[in-house]
């Protein structure tokens, strides 16, 4: 396939995918549309993890930003009666981004297992705060999210409106992610993975690159959390728990890091496999998921996205 043909086919494929996703509610039952919306929303958090993975940094604490985004929505709705998505989502982005700036400043000094463990520690601190500060966070009960509205309108079919909100914000996150990955900063993050000495000897800063990427990653992850809060209608401390962070890393590996779309492919497949695993083997669904990931890593080390690129690379 010629380069020109490939360049043309990518945006066409993306637009076709979103067109199909937009039409799905017409053909599918409500629960699977909900499941899909949930997967797409969580895909934004996985994208946040992938942006750092490209630099060789594994964040085992990204559920922190997922929870902060969700609690921003929960807090506004529960304490102030504001369920307006056009207020809550931007606020979730700002708060997640600011928190990422503060924590990122501390994290940029660390690499490898130390980065992973410190990010995990931060998320567990937030988890504990959410449990202990009952008056603020609702403790283990969490907060209910009521009164969803979009542009001042409380829709009758809120599930459908939320689905399209998720779809639009997914497209926006994917677009920002794609710009990031193709940008000098995106490439510098890859360079961090290979050679920090050379970065410094080019007069650039690996730490600054990591910090900027971490802030973008945290803000995008906050969007995912905010959307999940609207979809589920409830936020709880488990959103910040290490298991949630582990799931995001799991999905990032499952989808692969080769494309901005990989996180969503991984997320949708993960939610589907998880749901059907719970349905057909309720006592051993984690085992099913584990075996599934092992198979993917063994046969497709570049993740599910690698399957697509291999298919595209086949001579035809």
């Amino acid at each position: 396939m010629s380069n020109t043909a490939t360049q043309v086919s990518v945006p066409v494929a993306v637009m076709a995918t979103f067109a199909v996703l937009a039409l799905l509610p017409v053909f599918l039952s409500d629960w699977i549309v909900f499941l899909l919306a949930l997967a797409l929303a969580k895909g934004a958090v996985v994208l946040g993890v992938v942006l750092l993975l490209r630099g060789g940094l594994i964040s085992f604490g990204h559920a922190l930003y997922y929870a902060v985004g969700a609690y921003t929505v929960g807090f506004l709705a529960n304490r102030f009666g504001i369920g307006e998505a056009l207020i809550a989502v931007p606020l979730a982005i700002v708060i997640s981004g600011l928190l990422a700036a503060v924590l990122g400043f501390l994290l940029t000094r660390f690499r490898g297992i130390y980065f992973a463990m410190l990010s995990l520690a931060f998320s567990m601190i937030v988890y504990t705060v959410l449990i202990k500060f009952y008056d603020l966070s609702g403790g283990t009960d969490g907060l209910s999210v009521r009164g969803f509205s979009l542009a001042g309108v409380a829709p009758v079919h809120s599930g459908l409106v939320k689905y399209y909100l998720v779809l639009v914000l997914t497209a926006a996150a994917a677009y920002i992610g794609a710009r990031f990955l193709a940008s000098p900063l995106g490439y510098l993050m890859q360079a961090v993975r290979y050679n920090e000495i050379r970065i410094e000897y080019l007069g650039a800063s690996a730490s600054h690159a990591i910090l900027a990427s971490y802030i973008i990653s945290g803000a995008i992850s906050g969007v995912g959390g905010a959307l999940v809060a609207f979809l589920v209608g409830q936020v709880s401390p488990e959103l910040a728990y290490w298991v949630a962070s582990g799931d995001f890393v799991f999905v990032a590996v499952l989808g692969g890091t080769g494309s901005v779309f990989a996180p969503w492919i991984g997320s949708v497949v993960f939610e589907l496999v998880k749901n059907y695993a719970v349905k057909f083997s309720p006592g051993t669904w984690q085992l099913t998921l584990g075996v599934f990931l092992l198979l993917v890593i063994y046969f497709q080390p570049q993740g599910l996205w690698g399957l697509l690129t291999r298919w595209r690379a086949e001579p035809r």
Binding site: L185, G186, N195, Y201
Partner: protein, 249 residues
Amino acid sequence: MTTPMIEVDNVSRAFDMLRAVDDVSLSVGEGETVGIIGTNGSGKTTLLNLITGYLQPTSGRILFRGSDITGLGPRRVTTLGVARSFQVPQLYTGLTVLDNLLIAIAAHSGRTADFWTPMHRRDALVRAQDLAARFGLSERGTAEVRSLPEGARKVLDVVLSVILEPKVLLMDEPTSGVSARDKFSVMDMLMPTLRERRVTTIFVEHDMEIIERYAERAVAFDAGRIIADGPVAGVLAIAEVRRAVLGES
């Protein structure tokens, strides 16, 4: 009298009991091409690491155009205009040759914080392709660096430094790993560009043919000290240099 580009003023660097660089003083003027010679472990690479801020001196100071740069790290020293290449090429091995060049171009133009415009934008890409062509890398432009032969990696390592348009370029064994057939062509590609830009060039080299052909001045190291400094032919004629550096009995 013009201010030297680089002044190393009574610099020493010790690693525990070993004095890798021992009370070294060196002054290099604008546009000079200096070859540093010496056996392995004589302190040549340590001197380059000291000048570029990778190591800090135990004592003494380092000046760049009269300003004290002692204690500054590699990033700061590089942004001032002192670039370097390495004995073991320091590259982004999982990326392509063009991506390596484009990252250096982005760094030089201060675009490394840019997360919105594409790195492969037309003007940068044209420049990267031009550089690849000029230094014999164009056929390997889309190859991952890890797949390159050692000689091509060395060339790319040097080109990354040249992209920064430095005022001073330090090269650590630029032709080691390059085949005997290609070593002169590599230097022939490189040196005219540096002379044209009046770049002060200091290179460490074991190959005396390279030193004789491309350096104006030679500085001989032995056991962390400078034992001779002057025009190449004169330095290579000194008995102590022939014994300590060239291994003649």
